[in-house]
């Protein structure tokens, strides 16, 4: 069974958990390297998703709405 893609909110919560991890003392170096790579990848993915959603929003034709309002 494939794991379903987390929602944007779930992904941000995961990033917050990783941030909390790095705030602990005496981190395991190997583990922290893997967690850091995971955090970087997760942040990149979140930012891409945000950008994509924002692009979708920009497609809403505000000019057409203005025209409808005047009509």
């Amino acid at each position: 069974m494939t794991k379903s893609t987390p929602t944007l909110a779930e992904a941000i919560q995961q990033l917050e958990r990783l941030e909390a991890y790095f705030q602990q003392p005496d981190l395991n170096l190997e583990e922290s390297i893997a967690k850091h790579a995971e955090a970087v990848q997760l942040a990149k993915s979140i930012l891409e998703r945000l950008q994509k959603a924002e692009n979708e929003l920009e497609k809403v034709d505000i000019a057409a709405l203005f025209a409808a309002d005047q009509g």
Binding site: I12, L15, L18, D26, L27, A43, E54, I62, D69, G71
Partner: protein
């Protein structure tokens, strides 16, 4: 038959009065004269004398208050209809009055003024009492004579204007002795059996004597009592009657009564078109307002979502900054390294190691194993 003394047997006073009254019982007189000594006793009994104009002859008259159909006063010329007889207790000869009618223009005017004042005090003419006419009456009751010119005028205008309403005529005498009673009965009939939306009382113009019924108290009260609102259209504009004052709507003429009571089909059609146009404009305005409100709401939502994206991006960047500040690998990339003892513990102070210990040094990329030469 003439009975004369000594053929008559001797009788008592009461019997004599009864005998005289029996001889008079079939006699009804209509007498014209002038009123004198008018008085009302105990609010119930009306007494007055009727005398010849400029003469000495007098007749005592009596009636009950509720029988007095017309207000009178001393000096007024009237016609009295009544039965003569002897009053047993006083032996006085009196006319028991059935009906009074003012005689001559002066008396009619005076009676009119007196009745008008009386009914005005009672509030019968009050505008607060008057009812509006229905906008679209379906049944119209008409009280008039089918022979009257006023009725013809009314129907001509009414049929031109009307669109499918029903007219019910109560055909009555509009002048003469029977008029008053027939008009009152017509109000009772129409209100009781025909459920009209409006009643129109009409007749053409005439002298004050002709209009007598329209100046009577009983017709005035029938108008006020009517369940349906009443339009009165009598004669020409100069003729004001008591009925006019009591009407819910006073029309100047019978034709004017038709104009006031019957909506004109052409005007109704125009009104419908105007109402539809107004509704259409109102609907258009409502749609525009709704559209405008919707666009405003959408713009608000759009702004909120955009704001949400910016916040989320800033939050992610803040998390990444914190992680980068804390992640050992990032520190190592800046040239720092981590030293561990053989047991894996990180060396954070020189006191934790001594010369000869083997230590492992981790770099951003790779690691090395060294031996401690000296500790300071």
């Amino acid at each position: 038959m003439t009975l004369t003394y000594p053929e008559l047997p001797t009788i008592g006073v009461g019997e004599a009065i009864a005998l005289c009254n029996s001889l008079l019982q079939d006699l009804t007189l209509t007498i014209e004269g002038e009123v004198a000594n008018y008085s009302v006793s105990r609010g119930k009994f009306v007494f007055f004398d009727l005398k010849d104009l400029g003469g000495e002859s007098r007749l005592g008259c009596f009636m009950m208050v509720h029988q007095q159909n017309v207000p009178i006063e001393d000096g007024m010329r009237i016609l009295v209809q009544g039965k003569p007889g002897l009053y047993a207790k006083s032996g006085q000869f009196r006319i028991s009055v059935v009906r009074i009618q003012p005689k001559g223009e002066g008396s009619l005017k005076r009676a009119f003024e007196m009745l008008k004042a009386k009914l005005e005090v009672e509030g019968l003419f009050s505008s607060a009492r008057k009812r509006p006419l229905p906008q679209f009456p379906e049944r119209v009751g008409i009280i008039s004579s089918s022979e009257a010119a006023g009725y013809g005028d009314f129907m001509r205008i009414a049929t031109q204007r009307s669109c499918g309403m029903k007219f019910v005529l109560a055909n009555v005498a509009v002048q003469g002795v029977a008029a008053e009673q027939e008009i009152c009965a017509a109000f009772d009939y129409l209100n009781g059996h025909q459920a009209p939306d409006v009643i129109v009382l009409i007749r053409g113009g005439g002298s004050m004597e002709d209009l007598h019924a329209f100046n009577s108290e009983s017709v005035a009260r029938a108008i006020v009592r009517s369940k349906a609102p009443v339009v009165v259209g009598v004669g020409h504009e100069r003729d004001s009657t008591i009925a006019d004052y009591c009407a819910d709507i006073r029309a100047a003429t019978p034709s004017n009564a038709a104009q006031l009571a019957i909506p004109d089909k052409l005007e109704v059609a125009k009104e419908i078109v105007a109402t539809l146009t107004q509704s259409s404009h109102a609907l258009h305005r409502h749609i525009q307002t709704t559209k405008h409100n919707l666009v405003t709401t959408l713009r608000g939502i759009h702004f909120q979502v955009q704001h949400g994206f910016s916040d989320a991006r800033a939050a992610v960047q803040a998390h990444v900054a914190t992680i980068n500040a804390l992640a050992p690998v990032v520190v190592l990339q800046r040239g720092y390294s981590i030293t561990r003892k053989v047991n894996g513990k990180v060396v954070t102070a020189s006191s934790q190691i001594q010369a000869g210990d083997q230590v492992t040094t981790h770099f951003a990329a790779g690691e090395s194993i060294s031996e401690v030469i000296t500790v300071s």
